[in-house]
């Protein structure tokens, strides 16, 4: 059993989620809002799809070392053994019996002819890619990467956004000025460029200290964690601005005045009265950001500042498929796997996000 950094964080996230669900179930008004979220049949379907993705991601987050080798595999690999191990030598079309690329063969008489070798294990649903890996397997393995980018990034950025937003709005004065300056500066650098700059520099540091990573899985995992941290550290600004504005409104409310009169200290007011009231906005922003982050992963991998090229991710799959679209005859099936799985996840997330917004946003009537 090997616990990678992102595995640990995913488990932590799972515990927080379960704790939140227990809390929500105990409070009737929250239960009502959650029931409203998935009242519509489409939204129920979206929730089910998201849960399927989440369980695949979880299964893929429990890693162990294979017997007699240095390969780190996950429980998901074990479950998918038939397609994980059916590696061909090169491209093959979907449900094909033969390899797509032809090879030269010399028969007994010395005649040279072209032929397509038979596949070791025919009927790959989405075909195989350049190095013969089953496209369906690669797309399923990419689910974990997508989910981690979508969830961990927000998880990392939330403490900054909540802390700075609440402090700035509550204390005002020079604290507010300082925090406003901080997030205006950060947000005035165009997003992709700031991420690219940060990844480039951190990457150079990791390259220099490569020796500390025993296994390749640890190195790719560290790169993923760095990507999430950089995305998180650059993206807390917009939520922080909204939370600051909301706190400015909240601090003038009577219940805050009442607890001040009763002698509660400032930090306790922020913790007990301000932050719980920001919860709706935080929740809406988490679900709204999720699909955008999954899409961003693909773009960043294309730009060259995404996850490690050795890691399974939809961005890397699209990136390698790009050149294959220019081939003659065209190889298009390696895109379909990434397209179908990514599209389903993002669509389900978008539909679910609409449900959450309808249920939790007080402005929507």
């Amino acid at each position: 059993m090997i616990i990678l950094w992102t595995d640990a964080l995913i488990l932590l996230l799972l515990f927080i989620l379960i704790w939140m669900l227990v809390q929500a179930a105990r409070r009737p008004y929250l239960r009502q809002q959650w029931q409203k979220t998935y009242a519509h049949p489409t939204r129920k379907l979206a929730l089910i799809i998201l849960l399927c993705y989440a369980s695949i991601g979880l299964l893929d987050s429990i890693h162990y070392k294979q017997h007699n080798s240095n390969n780190v595999v996950s429980v998901l690999d074990y479950l998918l053994t038939p397609i994980a191990n059916s590696v061909e030598t090169s491209y093959s079309a979907q449900f094909a019996q033969h390899l797509f690329t032809k090879q030269l063969r010399k028969d007994q008489d010395g005649n040279i002819s072209w032929f397509a070798p038979k596949l070791k294990s025919p009927d790959h649903v989405f075909g195989t890619d350049k190095v013969g890996i089953d496209v369906l397997y690669a797309s399923i393995k990419s689910i974990r990467t997508g989910l981690i980018i979508g969830l961990l990034t927000t998880f990392i950025s939330l403490p900054f956004a909540i802390f700075f937003g609440a402090i700035a709005g509550y204390y005002r004065g020079w604290v507010d000025d300082l925090i406003q300056y901080l997030y205006t500066t950060l947000s005035s650098v165009p997003g992709v460029l700031l991420i690219a700059a940060a990844i480039l520099t951190v990457d150079a540091v990791v390259q220099r200290h490569q020796a500390i990573f025993e296994l390749m899985a640890q190195r790719t995992d560290m790169r993923l964690l760095i990507l999430c941290s950089v995305l998180g550290l650059t993206s807390w600004t917009s939520l922080c601005r909204i939370l600051r504005g909301e706190t400015l409104k909240l601090r003038e409310q009577e219940f805050v005045l009442a607890s001040k009169v009763l002698g509660t200290n400032n930090l306790q007011i922020i913790y007990k009265h301000i932050v719980p009231n920001l919860f709706n906005i935080i929740l809406i922003s988490i679900v709204l950001d999720f699909s955008g982050l999954v899409l961003a992963e693909a773009v960043l991998s294309y730009v060259g500042v995404g996850v490690d090229p050795a890691m399974f991710s939809w961005g890397n799959m699209i990136n390698s498929a790009r050149l294959e679209m220019g081939r003659e005859p065209v190889i298009w099936w390696s895109l379909t796997g990434a397209f179908v799985l990514m599209f389903t996840l993002v669509l389900a997330a978008n539909i679910f996000a609409d449900g959450v917004r309808d249920a939790f946003d007080p402005k929507v009537v």
């Binding site: 500066t185 005035s188 520099t201 150079a204 773009v299 730009v303 498929a321 790009r322 679209m325 669509l347």
Partner: protein, 322 residues
């Protein structure tokens, strides 16, 4: 109003200084010039002399913040490489070419794609959004929203790859990629513009629809309806004008950034603009170009915010300046 604008410009200076220090720390403190040199010289068997020569040639052979030998702060990397960005002196790239010259050569192709993409995108989004608002509450509107959600769930990369495959390879209407100046260049521009417009419809139209719906529920619309105006003339004469305020102010902030071009579109369609320049720099780890682009992008963004405020003031006289 001039007083307000002047104050806003003054407020931009500390922010730009912050961006400047941030990029400086990112690029020179996390990775020292020695390490930058060894990245570019590549191989492991690089001598100290080679690194020193490379630093000399690219102007990195200076202390970071304070030059004790000459007791000056101008003979430092921070001054030479970072503060000079304020004068739009971008210096030379790590590959030895002049960055300012590259920018002047490359902004025109970027604009040739970005401006038509913005104009057509805006027009089509407004038309689709207005159509959905006109048929609000009907199946047409409901399916329109569903279609928008579906469209915005597809990655921009798929739009580009799919567009190139369908329009350029199968139908052979336009070349797959490339760029040319003047009228011959139009055939190269059509596809990138089309792809970015279609890729933006989903989120754009859905967003603008909410602006229209917000206006439609207001009192003046009820008055217009009570007056006996037809639904179409209410929509075009009253609602459209008011809904355009948030739409246009949302666009103004993007205007200066058009200059930078789009990373994805330009790189896929091989357009020699600033977007592909940036992406090439990121891929070849050319820190000098990335640093220049980060700073230029921030200046343009802050300019966009300033323009947004000015348009707000002009569009809505009720806004008070303080």
């Amino acid at each position: 109003m001039w007083y307000y604008i002047a104050r806003r410009i003054l407020y931009a200076i500390p922010i730009l200084l912050g961006v400047n220090i941030l990029t400086f720390v990112l690029f020179f403190v996390v990775n020292t010039p020695d390490e930058i040199a060894s990245i570019h010289l590549g191989s492991k068997h690089v001598t100290k002399q080679q690194i020193a020569d490379w630093k000399q040639a690219h102007g990195y052979a200076l202390p970071l913040f304070y030059n004790a030998e000459k007791s000056s702060i101008t003979q430092t990397i921070f001054w030479q490489k970072s503060i000079k960005l304020f004068l739009f002196d971008f210096g030379v790239a790590d590959n030895g070419r002049d960055i300012s010259q590259a920018i002047t050569e490359r902004y025109a192709p970027s604009l040739a794609i970005a401006i038509p993409a913005l104009v057509f995108g805006l027009l089509i989004n407004i038309i689709v959004a207005m159509g959905m608002a006109f048929f609000r509450g009907t199946y047409l509107d409901a399916w329109g929203v569903v279609l928008c959600v579906i469209l915005m769930s597809i990655s921009m990369l798929f739009y580009i790859v799919g567009g190139q495959f369908l329009v350029a390879r199968i139908l052979k209407w336009v070349p797959v990629s490339g760029y040319a100046d003047g009228m011959i260049g139009i055939k190269f521009i059509i596809l990138p513009v089309m792809v970015s417009v279609i890729g933006g419809i989903g989120s754009g139209a859905r967003w603008y629809r909410s602006f229209f719906l917000e206006e439609i529920n207001k009192d003046y619309v009820r008055t217009a309806r009570a007056k006996g105006l037809s639904e179409a003339s209410i929509l075009f004469k009253h609602v459209l004008r008011n809904a355009l305020i948030p739409i246009l102010t949302g666009v103004v902030v993007l205007l200066p950034l058009l200059f930078m071009g789009s990373l994805l579109t330009e790189s896929f369609f091989a357009i020699p603009g600033l977007g592909s320049y940036t992406i090439d720099a990121i891929r070849s780890q050319d820190f000098a170009i990335v640093r220049a682009m980060v700073f230029l992008g921030s200046i343009l963004y802050i300019l966009g915010l300033l323009l947004t405020d000015i348009t707000y003031i002009m569009a809505d006289p009720r806004i008070e300046l303080n």
